[in-house]
Amino acid sequence: MSTTGQTSTSEGAVDLSVSLCGLKLKNPVMTASGTFSRDYARLFDLSQLGAVVLKTVTLNPREGNPPVRIVETAAGLLNSIGLENPGVEKFLEEDLPFFTRFDVPIIMNIQGEDLQEFVELARIVTGAAAHPSRRVSALELNFSCPNVARGMEFAQDPEEAARVTEAVKKVTSLPVIVKLSPNVTDIGAVARSVERGGADAVSLINTFLGMSIDTRGKRPRLSTITGGLSGPAIKPVALRMVWQAAKAVKIPVIGMGGITTGEDGIEFIIAGATAVAVGTASFFRPRATLEVIEGIRQYMMANGISDLSELRGSLAV
């Protein structure tokens, strides 16, 4: 597979590269936060990806929720992991250097319990990024994880979300991507609000709030009763929201939600996304990210599209 993002066809070169917040990505495909691990590097070269977005890191370590944390649903997955992570200091020291060895932009996803924590996290990560083994290309602010006590509130309050974005922007020179929750009535309004707050891009969607009940014991299957739904089941709703958000803002949109194939990715790009992220698909198709890249390439070649800017937001309405 080409790592330069370019393939020659009889019609000419096909260029998968995209520009995002000043970052040059060799293709528009990234991993979705919380869906990747080191072991994928034993299956393929991570340098082939457009970018790697890592699991949410918090200021202090989090043990995560008690089991049961995952439940399979029809074409979907409910999760209530609870942001298990070793905390920012340990992560920067032990986990990040594994990923920065690859020739691919690394995006760190962070979540704070309040504005102060977000700012503190941004400061710490930005400071560490000066060191080559901890070079982070961008920050993704997790306003939208439904599985922690506070996680929903920022994403559901556009003004608060804008305030936190603005405060983070003040302490970092890294591009700031804001990840949005779909559990809102007006995704365009939230997107506009964080754009006003200075976000360099928005990424959406995070998971939908859902649940599953064991009818034998009449108990919820997840330990936290509700959890986040992801996977192919959510794609139509995710796509609609990405389309709405892309219309509402000028900043780039990273679209995700149920993407399994290149064709899925193309749908999101037509809807207005500059880049796409693949999450749950990597669980049941370990090389899903590569398959989506290749599918996008095939679509471009088959349709005479040499550059993704021709396709972006080209929905015919």
Partner: protein
Amino acid sequence: MEVAAESSGLDLGEPKGSLGAPLFHGSVEVFQHRQVSSGCFLLMIHAPELVRYASPGQFVMLRCTDSMDPLLSRAFSFCHINREKGTFSLLYKVYGKATLWLSRKKEGETVEVLGPLGRGFSVPPQAEEIVLVAGGVGVAGLVALGEDLALHGRSPYLLLGLSAKDGFMMVSEISSFISKERIFTSTIDGSLGERGDVVMLVRRFLQAHAPGTYSRPFLAVCGPKGMLRPVWEVAREYDLSAQFSVEEPMACGIGACKGCVIRVRKSPAVPSFQGAAVSRGTELPPEFRYALSCQEGPVFDATELVFS
């Protein structure tokens, strides 16, 4: 898999989470598939690259659909591992959509598989007596261990608990590496062997082997969740060293989703979150932590396991 064959003892399983230990993912061929007992099948797969690094107690993730239903792959413990022939087998019971789909796979067809995954059994060098404790189809996870032990001149015992006689599987396979007088069987309904469950078998075995005639028997345990705790309690009572293969719902099997955690006791050698402030709202007492059963397990030492 490196086996320390010298006098330092056997090391049949090591953490395979680091970059460098090859991981295989791809379509592989089914070269044999047969029913071995009521509702139980033995699936034999040819995959030399995968088997080369496989060790007893590890598992594979197998895709059990042509579509998105069911969405997730399923975890299966290695049953046989044959590095010479480049084959391995999985022993499974049909109980849902995924296993039903799998049971229809014919010889010559392919399945998509990821592995070898997880941490397998590692028999302590000082163990003089090794007892394999199997609950039903859990015997699958112990076959490869038994065969490896036999290859290195060790003769384990096998305690096998089943619900009924027609659940008795793989007679010829098992007796090829364990002699009949070292196999003890029980059935809940008494239709074969002793009447009772595998926990009863373990107690009877330990009582029959008077203390002092062996030192520190080592138990390797594999079976349904409900049997793990009672066996663990017996091991604790007799102060035996033991390793248990746990079974937790898995989405990815590869350490990404963090869905397969179990509570474990923190070991002083492997501190986790030690000295760091832990966020409010945690349910875990400070001496416990969560471990991924797909990376640190599925085999855990008895001293790590926690039963509420």
